[in-house]
């Protein structure tokens, strides 16, 4: 029974493929045929359940499809450019997030200089506290930017063309770049903090600079990681 059904299914599929022989070989076209097949199968089931002969039912089902010329013509054409699909509200939100983030970065700089100015009264500890506070302040905008990068609408492919493929790839890699930038800025700020902390606490200035080399290696490792992820599967 089930095997018989599969055969009928394949037969109807072939009939549909014949009807769509002149249609563009796009995803939209393929989805349309898939949709048609599902509905045809259901119609077939109903007809045979009502006692129609399988042969006759297949003919009736295929006949009920009708003239597909107009349908094929309504399928999206291959070329044509579709821009980013995102509304003004989202754009405003994104701009607001970036603005606040930049403001917080500036605040961090102010905190840093305040700490430096206060060293005259409280000694080098004020300098240290200033740096730590500045870095803590930096964490917030960095997180905001990373989050924003994720919220940035993914480029949705409207048509199956090379141009569209390229645009999607371009969009994806721009996003990766943005995230990578955020990670790298976070890494280097942290490096400075660790360097300062360790140096002030141990006084081993002659060796602590090694931290920068370690961070350099770390960054290369992160970039490599992203590169590997970007490779086509």
């Amino acid at each position: 029974m089930d095997q018989n059904r599969n055969e009928i299914r394949e037969e109807i599929r072939r009939e549909i493929e014949l009807l769509f022989a002149g249609a563009p070989k796009t995803r939209a076209s393929w989805e349309l045929q898939e949709e048609l097949l599902a509905n045809c199968m259901e119609r077939y089931e109903d007809l045979t359940a009502d006692g129609m002969e399988p042969r006759e039912a297949v003919r009736a089902v295929v006949g009920s499809i009708g003239n597909v010329d107009e349908l094929i013509a309504s399928l999206p054409e291959e070329d044509g450019v579709m821009g980013f699909v995102w509304d003004a509200q989202r754009r405003r939100n994104s701009a607001l997030t970036v603005t606040i983030a930049v403001g917080l970065y500036i605040l961090a700089v102010v905190v840093f200089f305040t700490g430096m100015a206060l060293t005259t009264f409280f000694g080098s500890i004020a300098y240290l506290i200033g740096i730590i506070c500045a870095v803590v302040v930096c964490i917030i905008p960095t997180c905001m930017l990373v989050y924003n990068a994720y919220r940035y609408p993914k480029y949705e492919r409207k048509k199956d063309t090379v141009v569209e493929n390229f645009k999607q790839w371009n969009n994806d890699s721009a996003k990766v770049k943005q995230i990578r930038g955020a990670i790298s800025s976070m890494l280097w700020t942290l490096t400075v903090v660790v360097y300062m902390l360790v140096s002030f606490l141990t006084g081993a200035w002659y060796i602590t600079w090694v931290i920068f080399l370690i961070s350099g290696c770390l960054e290369s490792a992160i970039i490599l990681f992203f590169k590997l992820k970007e490779l086509p599967k």
Binding site: L32, E35, L36, A38, N39, R43, S64, G66, S74, L75
Partner: protein, 107 residues
Amino acid sequence: MSITFDLIRGHTDAIILSYLCDGDSYGYQINKDIMKATDNQFELKEATLYTAFRRLEQTGLIQSYWGNEAVGARRRYYTITDAGRDAYTGLKQEWQHSKVILDKLLT
């Protein structure tokens, strides 16, 4: 009969929107509903139905999503958007208007 068919076919969009106002549906289901409502007197050709679906989807009046049927082919369901509801109200009013005029002309 063929005049009736053409006349009704000219309102395919409105008919589809009308059914989707009551809830999400898919191609064959809508056709079945049409047949049931008209006592098998009227049925849309598959091609006409899907051309209308594409047109409505491209103008943003309906949206589609694939169902997750465990067995058999996957159905593609359609759902009406707010713009679609507005359009339906407009189309219905237009039809009422045409009906009044036709009734006056065909006496």
